[in-house]
Symmetry: C2
Subunit: 174 residues, 2 copies
Amino acid sequence: MKRRTAARRQRYAGPRKPRRPERDVLHAIARGHREAPEAIFRRSLELRGLKYTAERREILRTIMSAHAHFDADWLFLAMRKAGAKTSKATIYRSLALLCQVGILREAFHGLHGSTYEHVYGHEHHEHMICLKCGKVIEFMSRKLEKLQEDACRAMKFQPVQHHLQVFGYCRACE
Amino acid sequence: MKRRTAARRQRYAGPRKPRRPERDVLHAIARGHREAPEAIFRRSLELRGLKYTAERREILRTIMSAHAHFDADWLFLAMRKAGAKTSKATIYRSLALLCQVGILREAFHGLHGSTYEHVYGHEHHEHMICLKCGKVIEFMSRKLEKLQEDACRAMKFQPVQHHLQVFGYCRACE
DNA sequence: CTTTCTGCAAATCATTTGCACCCCC
DNA sequence: GGGGGTGCAAATGATTTGCAGAAAG
């Protein structure tokens, strides 16, 4: 059921990465807000000698149309409905790719597998997850971010990404 | 996915501890004057009409001896070494039970499966996880906790439990 | 052309479950 | 004594991977 986190697949090790890989990517994306995600993806692939295939294009389009959080299965079905009969294998391979590129991130582990969300066009945020209805509330706080950075500095830890999940009951379910 | 051994076996964070180690230790000891975990477990089981079996007793003893974070597999092997040949099935069933009872909690998802830690006798804390060596650093901040509470209040969300995981590179791996 | 992709099916792997005895309360 | 408990092995289910033909550059 539960699964592992990112950072493992990939046969191609890639060139030596700079100190803060994801960080840099995120910054790049933030700066390029006017650039379409499609262009970002394509460029990222090129830089790594990978190909911009029809399947990847279609997957990107589908996830950009996702309202909030989704999982591999949702993507699989959504693409079916849209007429693109991509295989699960490709779905998974692409999700990993999109995370590496910084367009997606793994939001958290639901009871069944990973849940993803876009990074592109969405400010970083944390999650509150209702234990009863499963509703996900997003929130964020500058101060919270800053405290985390301070903590990392104090521990000489180079942060790449973080996740804060608060489990509890939403207003309706309490 | 074939190297599920050495890489993440770094469960013990090592001597380099958070800022106020003494303070934390004192707290733990002070709290330890309360009811022993065995008694808590036993009573919880009774209340639910469940039985305090030899296997459960042994599992509890083993996890209480775990220094920090561990996973199902570690527990399985640790018990073998100790001479108790409990099955994986029972390990998993007991871990779930101990979480429900509040003696354990799922700390986070490592690259391979869930990682657990005691709740009993340990002050709440967050985690920094090294993406390279798997080392886990614990830290905590009153301010951070408070900000989270504030956020929940603002969203009318009733928090039950939370997890903050910062992924990145530890001092040695950077 | 050369190299990366994709679909498919088989393989993994952590975790769960069905069953037939076992053993606390 | 009986209902929960345990081990074992088979079942799950999300995700991965080997392969051979397909496509991108």
